[in-house]
């Protein structure tokens, strides 16, 4: 069948600049460029290009430009290029349109309509460069009260037995991305950067590769519906365990790691045969209720002798607040909320862009609900899905998060250009792939440096903004919605966010 889908991008090569070095041929994993020996010239198949900018970045003479195809269908606010292309693709394949990364629609972001306060005159701002600033964060269940005892000679000692806590030097962790959806070198980079920065990286649901066990103190091991690579050693290896119920990019649906991505190494870590589809069922089949969730939380606590916090991650959905309350009552040490803009290695586009709610609203609603019920201390709240700057982190903390998870931002720091083609497994940046030729493109030493640089940069920015408010401990921002004001929001939106209008 002739395809009616027109190429999305046009590859242009400046003949005056091109030196026919063939770097582009080697860099592109979509076979876009080729060299014609007979005519000694470079050719491109624009229809293959996904605009990842790999070739343009590596072209030594900057000869390549990738442009959106100017052959656009007649513009139409409803029947957009994306809608038309999707329909044509489906007509030709009869399948579900896949995509990668998070929702790319502009109207689902609230961060940019929230503004942060600063001190002027009435209380002094603090200069973080010269004065102490505290970003340290503890994730885990906090007691209702502390029992102290005065002991002669020893002063005061704490009698309350504290629940296990994770100590973060900055309130930012790396969110779950499975080994299989991303490469081993990305996992190595994440593990090393988390270790260096005093924070944590999440394995995602594909298990933990043997060589990464040594970073265990900075690893959160995930237990998802597929239970891939979940065994006692794995549970013991991590500093915390995360039960994945859902994911912001695809609430309510499972996942398939296609067989061609299940290479020798992946099959070993996931403990499934080579080349079979790795199916993650939509629900966890031992969890059909909050009571069942409690059963799994405690099974994991039993399996690790109550030494590790257990997180429960849900996608931000309409009744997230009530669900979160159930999760806390079920005994979770932390609730992870993943908003609609959260990324993925592969999801049906229709689900990614239409199912779930923005993290800002879910976070505000959950924090408020847990406070109203007097159980906010019983679990930490972690916000994920669409955190793209240090300001977003700070705003999330002011809305009630204890810490944030980032994933897309982490990948961008490694080179990702958010081309949204992760599901093809051919990521030219060597990130969302298991192809050995491509995974080599990430050097874990450099990767770890870049990730640690990102964390350091964001942490410095958070301290700057805190200092500006005259606040010297992140603890004082947490749930402090007075430091935020909203702009361009309706009364109801402001009410749910629990923030006042700018100028108010």
């Amino acid at each position: 069948m002739k395809s009616y889908v027109c190429p999305e991008y046009i590859v242009e090569r400046d003949p005056d600049r091109c030196i026919r070095c063939k770097v582009c041929v080697n860099q592109c994993s979509y076979d876009t460029h080729c060299y014609d020996e007979e005519d000694d010239c470079m050719l491109s198949k624009s229809e293959n290009c996904v605009n990842c900018q790999r070739c343009a970045t590596f072209c030594p003479t900057q000869a390549i430009t990738i442009r959106p195809n100017p052959n656009h269908y007649r513009s139409n606010a409803n029947w957009t290029q994306e809608v038309l292309t999707g329909i044509k693709k489906q007509a030709e394949t009869g399948g579900v349109v896949l995509t990668g990364m998070g929702c790319d629609k502009p109207n689902l972001t609230y961060w940019d309509r929230l503004l942060i306060n600063a001190s002027q005159v009435t209380n002094p701002s603090i200069d973080p460069l010269r004065e102490p600033m505290e970003l340290r964060t503890y994730i885990g269940s906090k007691p209702d009260k502390l029992d102290l005892e005065t002991v002669k000679g020893d002063g005061i000692i704490l009698k309350t037995k504290l629940a296990p806590q994770l100590q973060l030097e900055t309130p930012i962790m790396f969110s779950a991305m499975s080994y299989g959806s991303i490469s081993i070198n990305v996992h190595k980079s994440l593990a090393r950067a988390a270790t260096e920065a005093g924070t944590f990286y999440n394995t995602g649901e594909g298990g933990l590769e043997k060589s990464l066990y040594k970073y265990g103190d900075h690893v959160i091991v995930q237990v998802a519906s597929g239970r891939f690579g979940v065994h006692p050693d794995y549970l013991d290896a991590g500093a915390a365990i995360e039960i994945k119920i859902g994911q912001g990019a695809k609430p309510g649906i499972g996942g398939h790691l296609p067989g061609e991505k299940v290479t020798e190494e992946i099959s070993k870590t996931r403990m499934i045969p080579l080349g079979t589809d790795a199916l993650s069922p939509a629900p966890q089949h031992d969890i059909y209720s909050i009571e069942d969730l409690r059963q799994l939380i405690y099974a994991l606590k039993e399996a690790t002798d109550y030494t590790k916090p257990v997180f429960v991650k849900i996608a931000a959905v309409h009744n997230a607040a009530a669900i979160a309350s159930g999760i806390v009552r079920a005994g979770a040490d932390a609730v992870v909320l993943d908003g609609i803009r959260g990324g993925t290695g592969a999801a049906p586009r229709i689900t990614r862009d239409n199912v779930g709610i923005p993290i800002e609203m879910a976070l505000a609603a959950v924090d408020q609900r847990l406070r109203d019920e007097g159980i906010r201390n019983k679990a930490s709240v972690i916000a994920a899905g669409g955190i793209k700057s240090s300001a977003d982190v700070l705003k999330a903390i002011a809305l009630g998060a204890d810490a944030c998870y980032i994933a897309t931002a982490a990948l961008v720091s490694l080179g990702c250009t958010v081309c949204q083609k992760c599901y093809t497994g051919k990521c030219p940046w060597g990130i969302a792939t298991t192809d050995l030729w491509l995974t080599k493109r990430i050097n874990p030493d450099i990767g770890a440096k870049r990730l640690a640089g990102l964390l350091r940069g964001w942490s410095l920015e958070i301290m700057e903004m805190m200092g500006g408010m005259g606040i010297n401990a992140i603890e004082s921002v947490r749930g402090n919605r007075l430091v935020l004001r909203g702009v361009g929001l309706t009364d109801k939106e402001l009410e749910i966010l629990g923030v006042r209008m700018v100028g108010d």
């Binding site: 979940v230 499934i272 994991l300 039993e302």
Partner: protein
């Protein structure tokens, strides 16, 4: 000579055990909270105890979880949900019935049940063996996996309910239907839905199988495997393997190891 061992108490009665000279221990679980019971089991495990009898078990969960050694545990009563969850090597015999999720995500070891089982036997099981003398509930062996030499095995003496072997990705599931009178016809529906690995041997007919399943005859290799498993099963319950093997068995295997390969538009 016997001595007592007591664990710290979370709730309810102190959990205590009598430790005998032959490295065996006896626990009366009456009124003991599951956390105390399991913590006692772990203490005994680390003390090098090899054999534990637990009497009067009434619904305590997670027995067998986080015991690394090759402990032998005899349970008298009805253990609670998640018996042997994430279990790594213990050998449990239950003199009674078991509740839901017995052998959940179990890695290694063995559970022999002299009775019936609830739902979700061997959910996501990755290794080890489970034998159930009588019937089992829904979703037995759902998403079982295997990797090289790690091959989980479940044998159900009676019948099992809907979604038996759903998403099955590896391992061996045997259902014998021993308590069925006349023609053996298992009432389960959606057997093997989403199955993409492993095999099931079912004695008699199945009412309804998932789209992803084909029913075939056993190969010589299968027959040998099945014979071994049935003989082992009969060994635990004192039954006649030969007689059981006289009946026709159906073999259920996945149509493809990639059932959802053509679902997407790229």
């Amino acid at each position: 000579m016997t001595r007592k061992m007591v664990t710290t108490c979370e709730k309810g009665k102190l959990a205590e055990s009598l430790i005998r000279k032959d490295k065996s221990a006896l626990i009366d679980a009456t009124g003991i909270y599951y956390r105390d019971l399991n913590s006692l089991l772990r203490s005994l495990d680390s003390e090098g105890i090899e054999k534990i009898q637990i009497c009067n078990v009434y619904g305590q969960r997670y027995i067998g979880t986080n015991l690394d050694n090759h402990l032998r545990i005899d349970i008298y009563g009805t253990p609670g949900n998640d018996l042997g969850a994430f279990m790594n090597g213990a050998n449990i015999t239950v003199h009674g019935n078991v509740q839901d999720a017995c052998g959940n995500t179990m890695d290694h070891g063995q559970i022999v049940v002299h009775g019936r089982a609830g739902d979700l036997v061997g959910h996501s099981m990755r290794g080890g063996k489970i034998f159930i003398r009588d019937d089992a509930g829904y979703r037995v062996g759902i998403h079982m996996k295997e990797y090289v030499s790690k091959r989980p095995i479940i044998v159900i003496g009676g019948t099992a309910q809907d979604f038996l072997g759903e998403y099955m990705a590896g391992g061996v599931l045997v259902v014998l239907g021993l308590n069925m009178k006349g023609e053996i016809r298992h009432n389960a529906r959606f057997v093997g839905t989403g199955m993409h690995g492993g095999k099931m041997f079912i004695r008699g007919e199945v009412r309804h199988v998932g789209e992803e399943v084909t029913i075939t005859d056993l190969t010589e290799e299968d027959t040998l495997l099945l014979k071994g498993l049935v003989e082992e099963f009969c060994g635990y319950y004192d039954l006649d393997a030969e007689k059981i093997l006289e009946n026709k068995f159906n073999k259920l295997i996945p149509v493809s190891s990639r059932p959802y390969g053509n679902l997407y538009a790229y």
